[in-house]
Symmetry: C2
Subunit: 342 residues, 2 copies
């Protein structure tokens, strides 16, 4: 692992100055003969440009960071899968942070932008605090936020429309004749939790169903929590005939509990998940799920950031991605069999 060659090494071997070497390497106009000599020397030495020195001088790292709230959550994973190729195609490397949805970690990441090891950041915070907003306003590099941010915040923003998403699901259930539609939600102090809770209430109203406290249970966005919450709900309201779950993991927990309780899905209780992850197609019965377009949001975020990197001072932009309902067996009978595979 001997010290690699630098442009100085090349310059000596080719008998030219380092400036010429640099020019050749960057394709700037140079005499043919010089080009030949430099190329030959570079080849023989197995030269590779030092990215660090290059970044220092050019003030561009060609790296972009993505701060995922939760690396285990398939929704964020779907974003990552779209972000990666977009960045790669544009010649950027991806630095991955996992913040475990801890606000302090997110703030750390924002702070670390000052170290200038990346040209920009894509971030999907679960909660947006005052501190977030303050740091966003003074961030040392462009940031794109996936998730909602107050109007006027000076960053590019990509949003899901969970309101419409929940609406799609409730309409679907209502059309199928369901009238006792329960909801299992995640924590109300998270952005998605709050939005989905409110949307549920609204959607019920829209189809003319009453909102009943006892049909709603709050847990967390995990399968085990989903089980717990649904068990509680069933005890409280045994006549429930449909469940709107705030994500797919919760919905899987619901399937577990319903099966154990001897309820048939979808005949007795229809179940809808949210995020339309790979798990939805894999489960049995396969899970009807509201896709909030994680993949599209990731792609949009990456594109917004790349655009901003080329054009530093355009207006902040807001992109909203439309939801879609993926109907599968857990609401629509035995028929459909999801086919997404990775």
């Amino acid at each position: 692992m001997a010290d690699g060659p630098t442009i100085t090494t090349i310059a000596e071997r080719a008998g030219v100055s380092i400036a010429s070497v640099s020019r050749v390497l960057n394709g700037l106009p140079t005499r043919q003969e010089t080009v030949r000599k430099v190329m030959a020397a570079a080849d023989e030495l197995g030269y590779v440009r030092n990215a660090v020195a290059r970044s220092l001088k050019s003030r561009r790292t060609h790296q972009v960071a993505f701060a995922m709230a939760d690396i285990g959550n398939p929704a964020y994973l779907a974003m990552l899968r779209e972000i990666q190729p977009v960045l790669k195609a544009a010649g950027y490397r991806l630095v991955l942070h996992s913040t475990d949805a801890v606000a302090a970690d997110e703030i750390d990441v924002l702070h670390s932008l000052g170290e200038r090891y990346v040209d920009g950041l894509i971030m999907s915070p679960l909660r947006v605090t005052e501190t977030h907003l303050r740091m966003l306003a003074t961030a040392r590099a462009p940031v794109v936020i996936i998730g909602s941010v107050p109007d006027g915040t000076p960053v590019d923003n990509v949003r899901a429309d969970s309101r419409t998403g929940v609406r799609l699901a409730i309409d679907h259930l209502h059309l199928l004749g369901r009238r006792r539609i329960g909801m299992v939600n995640g924590p109300l102090d998270t952005v998605p939790g709050a939005a989905r809770g409110a949307a549920y209430r609204e959607a019920l109203a829209a189809v003319g169903l009453p909102y009943e406290e006892k049909l709603v249970e709050i847990g967390d966005f995990y399968r085990a929590e989903g089980r717990r919450a649904v068990a509680t709900l069933l005890r409280r309201a045994p006549d429930i005939d449909a469940l709107m779950c705030a994500n797919d993991l919760i919905a899987l927990g619901a399937l577990d509990v319903l099966r154990a309780a001897g309820k048939r899905v979808p005949q007795d209780v229809a179940v809808v998940g949210m995020d339309d992850t790979d798990l939805a197609a894999a489960s049995w019965p396969s899970l009807t799920s509201v896709s909030l377009g994680s993949a599209e949001r990731g792609k949009a975020a990456a594109e917004l950031l790349l655009d901003r990197l080329q054009n530093g001072d355009r207006e902040p932009r807001l992109v909203t991605v439309l939801p879609r309902l993926a109907v599968r067996a857990s609401t629509a009978g035995e028929a459909s069999e999801g086919g997404r595979s990775s």
Copy 2:
């Protein structure tokens, strides 16, 4: 986004030299009064160290790359989930590459080590070619390979033991009384494909069952391919009573086809997957699966690399992770209900 403060800015404001600033910032012995002045200036200016300049001088980037073969494959994802926190705890950032299992991309990544934008690399190649080996031998930064590499290759290496893994599964099926055990494998020119195929043959011999060509079908490591392969297999050998699948996605495809063919799982056909991903616990019936310890392998790889970064010239080390059989409903009846949630 005005140009951030540098140590020069601080030096001016504090009325000291940049050397003193650097010393204070690095905790080297300095007079109290100077420390105070520098700290005050740094705070007021909101100074953050420039990582690029630091790296250039110190020849350390505090970044490590992970080249995933396939970002959509839960097995690699499990590795990522372990690697990330280990690196973070040690103060390293993670640069993520997705090579889509394309050899050329993997070579690119190895080549790019010459750019010195990372201190080391963890890589999980699907196939190991001559070129791989040549580049590994001359890599400009330490590399840890997850997957098998010929003895004598001068890199740290973390292996799964798919031989024992398949053996566990076949023993299990044999104990359950299955005698017509088919296999659905991925491409034989991949490292895992070859290993699993050979292991299947060996394991059959170990329990005294004959190897039959017609019980084996090759596809690829995806669900749709699994469906196709199992359909073919069923046509060719309708009396099959167990299926050993080379990964969980294939096994899910098998479940699809068996259900459609009216075969009960596990009563008529028992199914075993491999990798023990989240999907295994999510499917229904839940899937018995051989865990090859993806998480442990990721963790081991990260630790090997960190160790190597501190101690550049110790002997290459080989870590082998033991497999484990996660028994679920697809072989053992209705009883168990997997509970892993993320």
